[in-house]
């Protein structure tokens, strides 16, 4: 109320100077019912971000912060994302979401360290944290100059987050093609150039990025990979996946935990929206670096602007979209694999039980697309079975891919498939070849309690 009048006395003047006229606009828009105290604690002065978003001016800085951190912590604890014996790798792009993820993981680690030092028997170790940055300048040569500065900035940001000390791994995206950096870069560029669809190229880059993160995580002894994906990001993903005909595999991508990878992926910011993330960065002066991407004109960009438009029409639209997708049945790998680790505290085990979703055993799949690692629908993978005995690399590759990758990433001309296959990282090709072996191993895993012999020979 006070802020609606020009003579506001509650200290808004200073802020108004900072934000230009925005504070006033928001008040006039009627979107904010300005109270002079925080609606949560009813004592502190509420924060006005002046970003035109919803819920502006309702919470004080502390309550706002606690709320966002609370969502993060709930996600972490209820899915046993981080336990004392874990070694966690945080993927940091320099952007706001991953900056907040890094900050929150750091804060958890500090707390764990304090508890450790305060405890008498020191039985619970403090989990380790590392940071990975993927250098994509091989894909965008124009980035090269800015990249040096960006990496310097990232080094100092990570260094500032100690103690506890955190290793930083800067990984060139082409590293998945081998250790010879020149040859790897050459193959990477050739591979990207051979994808003619703009959206396919962008998506392939994302898949390669994930492969490099997986590689650096497993080579350096990490057992968890934390990504900063927030609700808004996932909302766009829900729609892009739908538009690309990836409805079947969609539910695998938007859960808190995705353990289809060697190192399970975790999304602790899944329940926070972009606006909260940016507000938090502003509030806590968390600096970010935006690397200028090349202009995008594909499906992904079209979807992003569509979501932005929807969000304008209804500020909770992103949440609704993700909530819809969350009602789809997740996959068996959408939880941290059970271990005998006695380090998992009893309380965590209990919480896990409480939050664990029910899995529909009949709906599990066993085959994954070698390029995007999406689980394959039976109708997609039926080709795989008809190709029994046929081991030509190109046919196997085509048959093993999901329909979306076939269309937007594989060459349309079947005769150039072999060449394309030769450019792919070894990891992807071997996955295509061993698709069937893997699925056999998975089936075996599911029935092992009923098998009398331990080895494959029983078959």
């Amino acid at each position: 109320m006070a802020c609606n009048s020009s003579g506001c006395e509650s200290g808004c003047n200073g802020r108004e100077k900072e934000n230009g006229g925005k504070t006033e606009e928001v008040a006039v828009a009627g979107g904010v019912n300005q109270e002079s105290v925080c609606v949560k604690c009813k004592c502190n002065e509420p924060m006005v971000f002046g970003d035109g978003g919803s819920e502006d001016g309702r919470f004080c800085a502390d309550c706002f912060r606690n709320n966002v951190f609370g969502k993060f912590r709930l996600a972490v604890t209820s899915h046993a994302m981080i336990t004392p014996s874990d070694n966690v790798l945080v993927a940091f792009s320099g952007g706001s979401s991953s900056r907040v993820a890094l900050q929150f993981v750091h804060e958890l680690q500090i707390k764990a360290l304090k508890n450790y030092e305060a405890s008498r028997d020191r039985s619970l170790p403090v989990f380790g944290v590392g940071v990975a940055f993927v250098d994509e300048s091989a894909a965008y040569p124009s980035l090269s100059t800015g990249m040096v500065d960006a990496i310097t900035w990232i080094r100092s940001t990570v260094a500032d987050l100690s103690p506890p000390e955190k290793d930083l791994h800067v990984v060139p995206i082409e590293s998945v093609f081998g250790s010879d950096s020149l040859e790897a870069r050459d193959r990477f560029v050739k591979l990207l150039d051979s994808v003619s669809d703009e959206t396919g190229k962008e998506d392939l880059l994302l898949h390669l990025r994930m492969l490099s993160l997986q590689k650096v995580a497993s080579e350096n002894g990490y057992n968890r990979l934390v990504l900063g994906s927030c609700t808004s990001r996932l909302a766009s993903h829900v729609l892009t996946a739908t538009v690309k005909g990836r409805g079947y595999s969609l539910s695998a991508d938007i859960q808190h935990v995705d353990a289809r990878w060697k190192v399970p992926i975790e999304l602790p910011l899944r329940d926070c929206v972009w606006q909260e993330i940016t507000r938090l960065c502003h509030l806590d002066s968390l600096k970010t670096v935006e690397l200028a991407r090349h202009p995008q004109s594909g499906i992904n960009d079209l979807v992003s602007s569509f979501v932005a438009l929807l969000q304008e029409e209804n500020p909770s639209r992103e949440c609704t979209i993700v909530r819809t997708a969350a009602k789809l049945t997740p996959f068996y790998f959408n939880k941290i694999p059970e271990t005998d680790d006695s380090c998992v505290p009893l309380a965590t085990q209990r919480r896990l039980k409480k939050f664990n979703l029910k899995y529909d055993g009949s709906m599990t799949t066993e085959a994954f697309c070698p390029i995007c690692n999406g689980p394959l629908n039976r109708s997609d993978s039926s080709d795989l079975n008809t190709l029994d005995g046929c081991l030509e690399t190109d046919d196997v590759l085509y048959a093993a891919c999901c329909s979306s990758c076939r269309f937007q990433i594989l060459p349309q001309d079947r005769s150039s498939l072999e060449h394309f296959g030769s450019l792919l990282p070894h990891h992807m090709i071997s996955q295509a070849k061993h698709q069937k072996v893997n699925s056999q191993a998975y089936l075996r895993e599911r029935i092992k309690d009923c098998l009398l012999l331990d080895n494959e020979e029983a078959v």
Binding site: G31, L239, T242, Y248, E313, N314, T324, A325
Partner: protein
């Protein structure tokens, strides 16, 4: 490749239809961007629909099938193609056109005239049922009663039920509608945006209401709107462009515009959205929500009375506001942004063909 154009460019010399390789191409097929001749277009267009009918076993020989006919392009092309395929492939169907006369002066008159001409042109019998027959009220009478403001509630609810009620009245085995691939893709998106998982699981079914009295099916499920327009254009089919005059704001919604943008970028996206809709992993328990029937009229309803009966009761008792939900508009938009955000809906039409 976003567009499949490269193929046709490779061939040097005078360009030929890339299907028959004989005639000059006259159009770029919206679904595939192939450049083809008119004859081949008719051929692939009709054959695709025939395949959809055969593969999904939409009809059985001897069935009495009502084609929901509004006089608009979708149902006109549907009537034309179905009667053609019925003859050509001896489906053995007893086809007829079923039209609903809402009783809106000057609106249905023209479209009904179109349907009447179609009756002669395609040799299909026509049955017209009026709102008066079905509900005891015409739309004009309703508008007189309640004013222009809330009529779209009636429009939508009554229209949704009209065909089913009419089909039941005429004892048909099946009802077919002209919903096309664009409509279905739009519905998939809208159900995601609204969080309606139950509808999301049902909306891509080619046949619905199989457990009810009259199953409905959509032979155009995979047919692009653009191709339907193209077919009507080249065949010079006689259709009426319908817009509900009581809904001056029946503008194209966000979702529809988005789909059009997508189609420009990647024609196959429409089919991909439908594929996603079919493939979503939805637990079987979600798929079948409890669905009772209206105590008054027997139409499917989750409440004691169906929406139409509630509205009718209100009209008959002189309380027309009964059953009208929260008012539309007034979205709490940020006025500093472009105003279009506030005045647009995410849906195509508030009372449009989607629910027809």
């Amino acid at each position: 490749m976003e567009a499949g154009e490269a193929k046709s460019k490779k061939a040097g010399g005078p360009r030929l239809c890339c299907i028959c390789n004989q005639r000059r191409p006259v159009l770029k097929r919206p679904k595939t961007l192939q450049q083809i001749c008119r004859e081949c277009f008719y051929e692939v267009f009709e054959e695709e629909i025939h395949q959809v009918i055969v593969v999904n076993r939409l009809f059985k020989s001897g069935e009495r099938v009502a084609i929901g006919a509004s006089g608009g392009k979708d149902s006109t092309v549907l009537a034309y193609v179905l009667s053609e395929l019925n003859r050509r492939h001896s489906y053995g169907l007893d086809l007829f056109l079923l039209s609903i006369d809402e009783g809106i002066t000057g609106y249905r008159d023209d479209s009904l005239e179109t349907v009447k001409r179609n009756e002669l042109q395609y040799g299909l019998p026509l049955q017209i049922l009026s709102y008066k027959d079905l509900y005891g009220w015409t739309m004009d009478e309703i508008v007189k009663m309640i004013g222009l403001k809330n009529n779209c509630t009636f429009c939508g609810v009554f229209r949704r039920q009209a065909l089913d009620r009419g089909a039941a009245l005429l004892k048909v085995d099946k009802l077919v509608t002209g919903h096309n691939a664009d409509d279905i893709a739009e519905t998939v998106l809208l159900n995601i945006l609204r969080g309606d998982i139950a509808r999301l699981s049902r909306c891509t079914s080619i046949t619905t209401g199989e457990d009810g009295p009259i199953p409905r099916c959509k032979p155009f499920k995979y047919t692009y709107e653009k191709e339907i327009v193209m077919y009507a254009y080249f065949k010079k089919l006689d259709y009426f462009s319908t817009e509900c005059i009581y809904s001056p704001n029946a503008y194209r919604g966000f979702a529809r515009e988005f789909i059009k943008d997508l189609e420009r970028l990647r024609p196959r996206a429409i089919l991909d959205i439908i594929k996603s809709g079919e493939d979503f992993r939805i637990a079987t328990t979600t798929k079948m929500p409890e669905q009772g029937t209206c105590e008054r009229c027997g139409y499917i309803s989750s409440q004691k009375w169906c929406k139409a009966c509630v509205l009718l009761e209100g009209l008959n008792r002189g309380l027309p506001k009964m059953g009208i939900g929260r008012a539309r508009g007034g979205i709490n938009g940020d006025h500093t942004r472009e105003t279009k955000a506030g005045s647009k809906s995410i849906e195509t039409k508030q009372c449009g063909s989607l629910d027809f």
